[in-house]
């Protein structure tokens, strides 16, 4: 694919992603806004792929090495921290019947400390 064709293709999926992003989020209840913000935060950690490409190349000077290394560290913190924080938030929402389940399953397992 020529560079121009590739660019047009990339712009096409970019525009589609914009509409998809709006569409998917418009149905999220307020209750889940905080986990949603955190979840999208984890997803943009995908920039780690970019950091890996920069860091992974064979012949690089010292500056590139340092920049790439720091980028990998930052992006990994974004990925791991983002998903773990989101999971911890969502853990709070684990299934609970409208009436209190009166500790009949391990679900409640006592309040956290």
């Amino acid at each position: 694919m020529s560079h121009d064709r590739l660019l047009v293709f990339e712009l096409t999926i970019l525009v589609l992603a914009i509409f998809l992003g709006f569409e998917v989020i418009s149905k999220v209840p307020t209750l889940l806004h905080t986990p949603l913000m955190s979840g999208t935060n984890a997803i943009h950690g995908i920039v780690i792929v970019g950091a890996m490409v920069v860091m992974g190349q064979g012949h690089k000077d010292t500056l590139t090495w340092v920049i790439g290394f720091v980028a990998v560290i930052l992006a990994s913190a974004n990925v791991v921290g983002g998903f773990v924080v989101t999971d911890r938030m969502l853990e709070m929402f684990k299934r609970r019947k409208p009436e209190r389940p009166a500790k009949d399953d391990d679900n409640g397992a006592g309040p956290p400390p």
């Binding site: 905080t34 979840g39 970019g50 490409v53 990998v72």
Partner: protein, 462 residues
């Protein structure tokens, strides 16, 4: 691995991210969605490792161990109350990573004059600019929420001029890069000015508005990641980045709408006002009534209907479990207890829901603002636990108030309002609250957790 295989596997990652976002709109599937997204991320990382151009496995692995280790420990250890600043921190480092990738790409490609295509140059410039703003801005948001620096808007004369100069310099450097200038110092100027602008742009925004700012910067990081995708001709970066960019923008708008303010008002509201707090309200010098825990315990135990209004103070004091215990105790005595949740109570939308869910408060007892407001007239006692601005009647009555027009919980329509508060100091937004001077209001001073514990003891003793 061939480029085609790589791209196909990246497509799988894209699908997992879309599913993750879709599942997040359903409380029962949200957690699964997050895991699907994490699995997709793992796949993308594995696929990238398998690319033939990647040779430095050990360095990457070491960087991942350091960054991932830090992320895991920080995310595990942080208290639920400190989640907002944690999100800000992780958002910031993502933006920083995007900016660094662009810098490295510019450094690698630019010295060969004529090598840099114009669209690549634009993508590099945008990603560096937006990423650096997001990094620096998120760090300031983190510092404000962590109370490392003061939460109030920081303003000074000539602020707009300084901001315009810094932003202008960053843009000028960016335009030069986009126009084909390939000197490395331009990138230094771009990154330094963009980072400085990120700091300057968040400083004048009050702590209470930080959720909106974090959401906006979250969208920024997404856009920076998408631009990085154009540099590296990488679909998964483009789609995932743009998904976050678009959804984050919509979420930001939804959040400022919940405060009945325009996004421009949130971001630039503090400019030009030297001291918004001074013009707050004439509280008539009315007296403040304070009560003891015993008095309040009696009021609560003999009420028919009690509504708890939680705010950030509840989060700070970690009092959610105690509040629930008190509510259970009251229910045993036949009192109807519900919780009224303002959409922006706490530091993020849904913040209170998360905390109360942690304390196993049943969903049906949580009432959203529209549902809760008509109920206050029939309510005997409202227990305001560490909330302030979301119950400030000035938002309804005082056109001069900075929060005028924000929908609030009309707690002053109840028979009695009990406010649990540490002291008479104004709230996070720095605004005086006439509710405290209302004859219906009694104050119960002290740490929210201590006060609730005392209330529990006293209600038990009745």
């Amino acid at each position: 691995m061939s480029r085609t295989t790589t791209d196909l596997l990246y497509l799988v990652t894209i699908v997992t991210f879309i599913l993750a976002l879709a599942f997040l709109s359903r409380p029962d599937k949200a957690r699964l969605g997050n895991w699907i997204g994490a699995a997709g991320m793992l796949l993308a990382i594995a696929v990238t490792f398998a690319q033939s151009s990647i040779v430095s496995y050990w360095e990457i692995g070491l960087g991942m161990a350091i960054g991932g280790g830090f992320g895991a420990v920080a995310a595990r250890r942080v208290k639920m109350t400190a989640m907002p600043q944690m999100v800000a921190l992780f958002n910031g480092v993502g933006g920083g990573a995007a900016a660094l990738v662009s810098w490295a790409e510019f450094h690698r490609k630019a010295p060969l004059a004529g090598h840099l295509k114009v669209d690549i140059a634009i993508a590099i410039m945008l990603s560096a600019l937006i990423g650096a703003i997001s990094f620096a801005g998120s760090m300031v948001a983190f510092a404000k929420l962590q109370e490392l620096i003061q939460g109030r808007p920081i303003t000074y004369p000539g602020q707009q001029v300084v901001n315009a100069l810094v932003a202008g310099s960053a843009l000028a450097a960016g335009i030069a890069i986009a126009a084909g200038a390939e000197e490395q110092w331009l990138m230094w100027v771009l990154l330094a000015c963009a980072a400085a602008f990120g700091v300057l742009f968040v400083l004048p925004i009050g702590g209470a508005d930080m959720p909106v700012v974090i959401s906006l910067l979250n969208a920024f990081t997404g856009l920076a990641a998408a631009a990085t995708g154009f540099e590296l001709e990488n679909n998964v970066l483009i789609v995932a980045g743009m998904l976050v960019g678009a959804s984050g923008t919509l979420l930001t708008l939804m959040m400022s709408r919940a405060m009945n303010r325009s996004i421009a008002n949130v971001l630039f509201g503090a400019f030009g006002q030297v001291s918004p707090a001074a013009a707050a309200t004439d509280s008539d010098g009315g007296a403040v009534r304070s009560a003891t825990a015993e008095d309040v315990a009696v009021m609560l135990a003999y009420a028919h209907k009690v509504v708890v209004v939680p705010g950030y103070g509840l989060a700070v004091a970690q009092a959610q479990h105690d509040v629930r215990q008190l509510a259970d105790l009251l229910e045993e005595k036949g009192v109807e207890v519900t919780y009224a949740i303002h959409p922006v109570a706490g530091r993020m939308p849904g913040h209170m829901n998360v905390l109360l869910a942690e304390a196993n408060v049943p969903y049906p007892q949580l009432k959203e603002m529209d549902e809760a407001n008509p109920e206050f007239a029939r309510t005997d006692v409202v227990l305001v636990v560490g909330a302030n601005d979301v119950v400030n009647p000035d938002a309804r009555n005082n056109q001069g108030s900075p929060i005028y027009g924000m929908p609030i919980l009309n707690v002053d329509q109840a028979q009695t309002v009990v406010v649990l508060k540490r002291s008479m100091s104004p709230g996070f937004a720095g605004i005086e609250n006439p509710l405290f001077f209302n004859p219906k209001t009694v104050m119960l001073f002290g740490d929210a957790k201590d006060s609730i514990t005392k209330l529990i003891g006293d209600v038990k003793g009745l």
